[in-house]
């Protein structure tokens, strides 16, 4: 009984670790200089990014055991991107909620005005504290 439970938990754990990598940059045409930065991060297993004229939003999936350093990882990647894009406002987040919000933007393929509105909404959400 105990053994089977243990095996079950291990299978769950391993199954969760091998989830496939998801790397999306939206819109995809100006992704060239962001991609190499994200590619060399070894603490994340996926990212979804939205870019418009002013902002860069990057929602990252942090590896399970690197999540202890979530705040540090966010800061580090933000700095690297800011170096590459000094004229844009950069927001890097490991928050699941913001990841979902970014996914909806990509799914709906929002344009211009709506895109800007959603980005503002996400930025507001990320500033909220308990």
């Amino acid at each position: 009984m105990k053994k089977s439970l243990f095996v079950f938990l291990m299978v769950l754990l391993l199954g969760a670790c091998s989830s496939e990598k998801e790397k999306v940059i939206f819109p995809s045409d100006n992704s060239s200089s962001l991609k190499p930065i994200m590619q060399k991060q070894d603490t994340i297993y996926g990212y979804k990014s939205v870019i418009n004229e002013e902002d860069i939003l990057v929602a990252i999936n942090i590896n399970r055991f690197d999540r202890f350093n979530k705040a540090k990882i966010e800061k580090k990647i933000t700095k690297q991107i800011e170096k590459q894009f000094p004229e844009k406002k950069v927001l890097v987040t490991g928050d699941q909620k913001l990841m979902w919000e970014v996914e909806t933007i990509i799914e709906k393929k929002l344009k211009q005005k709506e895109l800007k509105k959603s980005i503002e909404k996400i930025k507001l959400l990320s500033k909220e504290e308990t």
């Binding site: 928050d95 979902w100 909220e128 308990t130």
Partner: protein
């Protein structure tokens, strides 16, 4: 009969506390409660504008609400018999202590009964929570001011 013999008899007569069984039960019951909490957190994040950082508060409130139902119907007592610390340590255990005391003393009226006895069991938790928060914040602020640590 000297002290040692007496102690030996006492040990024999007392029921053996099944140490590892208790720990395992606490682990499983506590784990399940926290997993339910995580599901509730996901629910609030999915359908309401809460982030990982802010979803904790509504989750705790919802769990205390569930604890209210379970306490009122007498089910939480049964969970506590199985789970031991596994049911006491999560915030539902704190809720159970407050709510059961409130229901218990309802007959004495809402001011003296409910209001006066609500925190009979849980009051020490609040006392030490606030007190230790004050002491820790004070020590850390002083240490920062004299430059030993940073924020």
């Amino acid at each position: 009969m000297d002290q040692q013999q007496f102690q030996k008899i006492v040990d024999e007569k007392n029921p053996k506390v099944p140490f590892f069984m208790n720990i395992l039960k606490a682990f499983i019951v506590g784990g399940i409660i926290c997993t339910i909490g995580q599901l509730i957190t996901f629910f609030y994040m999915r359908f309401f504008p809460f982030t990982e950082g802010t979803a904790g508060n509504p989750t705790v409130a919802t769990l205390v609400f569930i604890a209210m139902i379970l306490t009122g119907t007498g089910l939480y007592k049964k969970i506590a018999q199985i789970g031991g610390a596994g049911s006491a340590v999560p915030v539902t255990g704190f809720g159970n202590a407050v709510i059961s005391a409130a229901i218990e003393h309802k007959s004495e009226g809402y001011v003296l009964g409910v209001g006066g006895n609500m925190f009979k069991l849980a009051g020490s938790v609040i006392l030490f929570g606030v007190l230790s928060a004050f002491v820790v914040a004070l020590i850390k602020t002083i240490l920062v001011n004299i430059g030993v640590v940073s924020w």
